[in-house]
Symmetry: C2
Subunit: 158 residues, 2 copies
């Protein structure tokens, strides 16, 4: 067993899982804040030079886990590690967000697809050389692409 | 406090931190395996359709944490959240690796910059639409770029 402890809290307009964006395209431009606890504030030094950051957080509304889930945009059961679903053995969420500015120990971010009140576990700088890959295959998500595109259009015109 | 429990173990050629690649360019083509515990095997279904996966793991050799660290490739102290250093309040590591194939509950992967014996916490599919960003600023790492490039050359010709 490994003990983790929240280092802050994420605030967003999403107060319940229903109505949350189901993919980053749906969260484009959505603003939120990341409030880091005072005791960890010093660790934010130099972070303001980065345009994007990786947030690791706890899926705190998720109870237990399922090894197979039916993801959004799909109608078949998939292995949970082939999805981004929250009901995972270790319920850690990962989002890449845009960092607008830092005020003291509050990060102002955009493209937030995270529930309000989510406990923050870690912040990492987003570095394309480390985190970005080309020529990628995305398995079952390729088949869902038509539906993803439709969903994007819905968002775009609403 | 949040309890996490390893779901598997990562094997690589790197048995000690000294001599580890300091960035993914240095780990290019390095092969490793990810052994998932039998009880979580079902969760791997459909993962073989993805060419790249995100591994979240425990920096198990890291004791305690520092809010300021002097990163590799730099000579100045930086806030830990502006680095990928292991001594973090929640010592979670993140690597994007190439997935070659899955045999039963063993994932054969490449581009591994992870210590042998590292406890695995989570596997997520790498999805460019979720995880890749363009027009990125990378703060203090920009200044270190000359040194990064030199290091890459060293690797390339060795």
């Amino acid at each position: 067993m490994i003990d983790m402890t929240p280092i802050g809290i994420i605030h967003s307009p999403f107060t319940k899982a229903e109505g949350m964006p189901i993919q980053p395209a749906g969260a484009h431009g959505v603003k939120g804040t990341v409030e880091v606890l005072e005791e960890f504030r010093i660790g934010l030094k130099d972070l303001d030079g980065f345009s994007h950051i990786i947030l690791l957080y706890l899926f705190h509304r998720s109870e237990g886990f399922s090894l197979e889930v039916v993801p959004f945009l799909d109608n078949q059961s998939r292995g949970v590690f082939a999805t981004r679903a929250p009901k995972r053995p270790n319920p850690i969420g990962l989002s890449v967000v845009r960092l607008d500015r830092i005020e003291d120990r509050v990060l102002h971010v955009q493209d937030v697809d995270i529930l309000d009140g989510t406990p923050l576990l870690d912040i990492k700088p987003y570095v394309p050389e480390f985190d970005s890959r080309d020529e990628v295959r995305t398995g079952w998500l390729e088949q869902a692409k038509g539906r993803v595109a439709m969903h994007k259009s819905d968002e775009r015109f609403k």
